[in-house]
Symmetry: D2
Subunit: 445 residues, 4 copies
């Protein structure tokens, strides 16, 4: 029995089965875009820890910042007193936010709690109670963000009643367009579906916030049409509804811009939630928003003992350094084009590659049954499993979407190597050489 197997066997006795199953490994160490498991096997990472390690693994500048801070002060709760790195980071982050006018933030530990905070601040500022989110959305696992999510039934099962006041409207995702429907017709139909609640049972003037992932992550790496965003944005403005964006998965350079909302010219959020890669995967999140909104709650309406911790904020300061110094936003944009080229070529070779979407180093590639064009879950599982065997760590989303989110520091060579392996796996699938792994039934969301 290898180390991986030992670790997992022991862990399974004491860990609640909350993990989404893919491959039976325990990660031991990493460097840049490379990972090593407990058995010593190496992988090129195309997942970036679910987009939480955009700066790659064990970046020396960040590791040094963590180390230095830990030796000075591991923790003092910002709930009672300021600490030096958190205070610096607050200024730097607010300056980065794509929001004009005065901006403030509040700290959290997770993307989840940041979205709970968005609910709180939206309700407090507007004095309204209703909340709108989208099907397909992943907003997190605390009760507020869970109630706003719509991505997996297991996020609702056996936990209700959920937070009252949430209405979910259909997200205009890549699969929702009807055959023969023009983009404009599609946008009109989706906007009509968006407005239906407001016309029949949801008073717009009592709606606090519309929370959206401008590009859905777990929903399949899929971007809402610009015109749709404009329409709901205008609707929000006309009705005094706050417009909030979840940048937890798609922010921090992932999409070739600092923030995914910057892919939508003319749209400026009132509030945004950030997390994941914010402190390179140490637990830190923030809600950043217009100052008057962020001033609307009294203390201690949104405090967490360890949020804005000295170590995590020091790590975040170093993360911002790296993104800036290594031009990771631009790198993401450039390599995203390389990736798009690659998948376009593969599409020509392999009929089972359906549509794909690529926004910076952020892609969703649909694997379909060439005969019907329908989602092919089995083929997807075969592919990712084969890639895993060949040393590329990649997982799926939904039934049949390859999730392509490498660390932004991935080298050109590593990327080329990963593509070679992917190409090999595609070819093997084409040739009918791939079979399902034993635990295929458990694999995936």
């Amino acid at each position: 029995m290898g180390e991986n197997e030992k670790i997992l066997a022991n862990e399974s006795k004491v860990l609640s089965p909350q993990r989404v199953q893919y491959y039976d490994i325990a990660i031991e160490s990493g460097k840049g875009a490379l990972l090593r498991d407990a058995n010593g096997k190496e992988y090129i990472d195309l997942l970036a820890s679910a987009s939480s390690t955009n700066t790659g693994h064990a970046h020396p500048h960040i590791a040094a910042a963590i180390s230095e801070q830990a030796n000075k002060l591991i923790q003092y709760t910002p709930a009672y007193f300021a600490n030096v790195p958190a205070a610096k980071l607050a200024e730097r982050l607010c300056a980065l936010a794509p929001i004009s006018g005065p901006v403030k933030l509040t700290w959290g530990n997770s993307g989840s709690d940041a979205n709970d905070a968005i609910i709180k601040f939206s309700r407090a500022y507007t004095g309204r109670q209703y909340l709108v989110s989208f099907t397909g959305a992943y907003h997190g696992s605390t009760y507020g963000s869970l109630s706003m999510s719509s991505c997996s039934l297991n996020m609702a099962r056996k936990m209700g009643p959920m937070l009252p006041g949430v209405v979910k409207v259909p997200y205009p995702d890549a699969w929702a367009q009807l055959p023969n429907e023009t983009e404009d017709e599609f946008v009109d139909r989706m906007f009509a579906a968006f407005k239906l609640p407001f016309e029949t049972y949801l008073p717009a003037e009592e709606t606090a916030v519309i929370l959206i992932e401008p590009i859905q992550g777990d929903g399949g790496i899929t971007k809402a049409p610009q015109k749709f965003m404009e329409k709901i944005y205008q609707f929000a403005h006309e009705n005094g509804i706050l417009f909030a964006v979840d940048e937890i998965n798609q922010g921090m350079g992932r999409t070739g811009k600092w923030w995914s909302i910057q892919n939508f010219p003319g749209i400026e959020p009132d509030l945004m939630s950030v997390g994941k890669s914010l402190a390179s995967g140490l637990p830190l999140s923030a809600v950043i928003g217009r100052a008057e909104i962020m001033d609307s709650l009294g203390s201690p309406a949104n405090v967490f003992t360890t949020a804005g911790n000295p170590v995590t904020t020091a790590a975040s300061l170093a993360t911002l350094d790296v993104i800036e110094d290594e031009h990771l936003v631009e790198r993401s944009a450039r390599l995203g084009k390389v990736a798009a080229d690659f998948f376009t070529k593969e599409q020509e070779k392999f009929a089972f590659i359906g549509a794909f979407r690529m926004y910076g180093l952020d892609g969703g590639i649909d694997i379909v049954d060439p005969a019907t064009g329908k989602a092919d879950r089995e083929a997807t599982t075969k592919l990712i499993y084969r890639m895993f065997e060949l040393g590329v760590l990649i997982i799926s989303l939904k039934d049949n979407v390859l999730r392509f989110q490498p660390p932004l520091v991935i080298t050109d060579e590593q990327l080329a190597q990963a593509f070679e392996i992917m190409d090999q796996a595609f070819a093997e699938l084409q040739a009918g050489k791939l079979s399902l792994p034993a635990n295929a039934a458990n694999i995936g969301w």
Copy 2:
């Protein structure tokens, strides 16, 4: 303008006003029970970052563990793959839990999200929806834990509707007993108040969980009577209601036991939430519970990208080492006695010291108007402010309770020195020498 003042001035422009106000400092570094602010002034820490740094500041063993892990792997999300330190920690923590039979845990980043998870697992396991918590409780700041809290109106204001199904019953705290009431009469009356909802509108057979702080922290460091605990525990068992304890503030050696519930012979929780000092103040929490309960939810019902992060779990492993190696639980018990002796003596000297409670290094000291015996908020503010000036960092709870929670590594000398300063402040108050600080109105909860 000093560094403190500069930092705070800048921070205030970009930080949502969520901090509970006490003194205008920014913490820069620490060592053991000592803190240094940005102006270079030193303090003996009697707050331990709200009980989140029980091992003291910048403990070399813990700092080293953090540093080493950061250089190996900062993050890989346990939501998809195991990592080495988290897997180890899970085993070690489950072994520590005061629960017989098989035990499992789930990771979180904050005490708050752990209590949200308690709600989820309780509902899932029992198939019931109602939840019971206590007045005075602080359970956290995400929507689930917020809905269970009852400690400050600002934790409810402008955020509703809250999570449905929560019923709050009165906690038998130190101030609830009537004059002329025996302990037994008190317990009977409080238990009757506890049962009133169950007799009139809350079906016991639809109640999932009773969540309690066996010793309330933010509620004033106050312990429920043993007989009361026995009664509600028996009630829970008779009605198939899970019994969950919040050990976030009071666990990890704080009360002279590993867990505060161990101060109650014969009571064994089904579920417990831990956090704060678990990773010495790095964001890490867990819900530990009977395995069959922890198995009741499917993935991804309770996952957080960064929960069970390699760095935070490495820090937690080192924290457990320190607690064990330095015998901090026993130390807490022993120094708690020293503290009790001190405050007993002070009580004799100073009529404004009302009742106090001390459970390990965990105390609440009531400051009262000697004439009426009523809470004296002003005197309390004068005292803590004066102690702060004299180099002892201590805050208040409720209106008039001194919160005494030093790091458990505080040396005997440091403790003696803190007591000297406290005695001086007490004497100055007695002598009428203390006046309110300028910002007194903003100080405190």
Copy 3:
């Protein structure tokens, strides 16, 4: 098999078992305070159809009004057009309300829907969402009023989640006072319990309404202390919370005043719900309140097709005639004194008669175990069953309270006769002559 038995046997095959079980009869006809069942047996009615026939049975003036209207117009929905009797009744009822300043009303069909309406208007007028009601309260069976009720667990079981935002506080009922507690201490303690939520988790400034039965009906015919009412009334006023009274059971002359709230000098409600005897037991209810509150909702926020129906409002106009012409309010007060005298005398004879309360023809008589003073459910069942056998129709409330609510038109002779029968049953119980009926286990709430 008698007619009663046949009817019940058939009915049981097609009726959901929602009836509270007492005696196996089907009522066929009535006249004043007399009832006749399908087997032809006669009873003196001490229940008045749960206080819904204060004017007695088949009153000729009322029957004539119904008959006349039915031949003219049975129904036209006030949701779209006015009808003549409803318009008249609105004026007359508003003039009767114990509210100074302009008053308006809205129609309903049941006490239940009236209390739902109180929730709606309170929220709309105040813009606040939280609601306060009392343990022991019966407010009805639609989701709003059910959520405000706290009288029987079967009113909550298997139906949740209930309407969010309701907080229940303890009612200062006849059994809540501690031994050795003065009335003032009692009031202070109950008021402290009332304030506890407001001090810990319920923002007063977000609370829309306090809804109270000034005298609880199904809670046991028990009146809140005047000083308690003053305190909560003042609290409501100071905090902009509406003060609403439920007069459905206790209004319409029942307590020797037009409205039960008139037993509390100085207290004037913002809103009141009326029903039951309003149309002599035809389905009609109303919420009457300060005009500016009643103007706060737009159409069709509170319409019911048949509410304010021509026949029911004609019946109500006739009911008001009868109450006025036959001086039933005064009669209720006078006969209430007669009843009080009777029960005082019986108390001296029978040790199992504990405390009793009498407010007009509205009484609750506690049957206790003379040895312990505790509630004696069995004795209560024996008594009411024996009275039923002897021709007096009376039921119990809670475990051991005789519910005394005869039609207000009961003659002095009928009352005397009923008392004779009651005295006989009391004596038989004393003599150990009474045994439990076969179905005793099913009898009662």
Copy 4:
């Protein structure tokens, strides 16, 4: 000033403005399909009091039954004892229900409370909490039924939070079909929209009930496609979800069948709510359902003091007599055809008559702008107002739907006369002779 005006002037001072505004009249008397207002003007009634007087006005058989019963016994609450007419009616109604197997019912006073009861029984029987209803639905005005409604924003405004657990899906109404979409494509698209919540956030296995108006009334008199009904019906069955139909508006012969669900071959509800015309407009409703469902709640989970009142149930017995004796169901079907012929002819003459739907004497006629085909609210108001002037009482639904629901007893002559008047008004509109009434802005939903 006429009587109408006087009555309304007085009433407006004391009545909460809950009425949907149409014409300023007070109804004084009626006979069959004729109405007379307080000024003595006569109308042919095409509204039937919102389908609550299907047997017409002041029917002698029904008036006699009411009168007779009122002289015998006006009320005894079925909450405690049976009464003769209610017991009879229960049997007769259960026999009429389109449900095979044993059937039971529970009484209510309004359609609204019946739908609240459907929620209760569905939750109790299934042990599940989630509820599904449709946009466009009108289910009533108590908190349960209000929370299920989706017909007018005023039914949600300022009243929230609503009952938790309700999810609203789009109703496949007459206006939802896309141009160029086949009926099958339409049904598929609507069924996909129906399933979207179940696939993303609503666990089917936790869903208690789907409540639907098989033909929506206030939603515009519009019928779901048979295939759609089959799909959701099958979905319900496959997932253990109860299938409940609201027959309050459309039952009792209105659609040419006893119940509107009988227009859908092969569909049999688990539960149905009836009201409105059930007692010819006296307040009476019922939930009728499979016996095992109706047995799932204990007493007093669903009792109303006056529900199943002797007078209302006597009126209902007489109503059933009339429907049967006068063959009103068949009459509704036959006259519905006559009406369909009429409107088909009118469509040819008047381009502003868009689509219309006619199911028995139950029709919705769309008034559109001939140029664009879009809803023409102004033309609609002009038309109904002109018809009113000419002695035909008819109102609109939504913006532009003529609501055609005459009493089923309308004579052939009266119907012909009404059509003549309608034709005149149509012609006048065509000729540009109609102008808006002064209060046009207030007219309509």
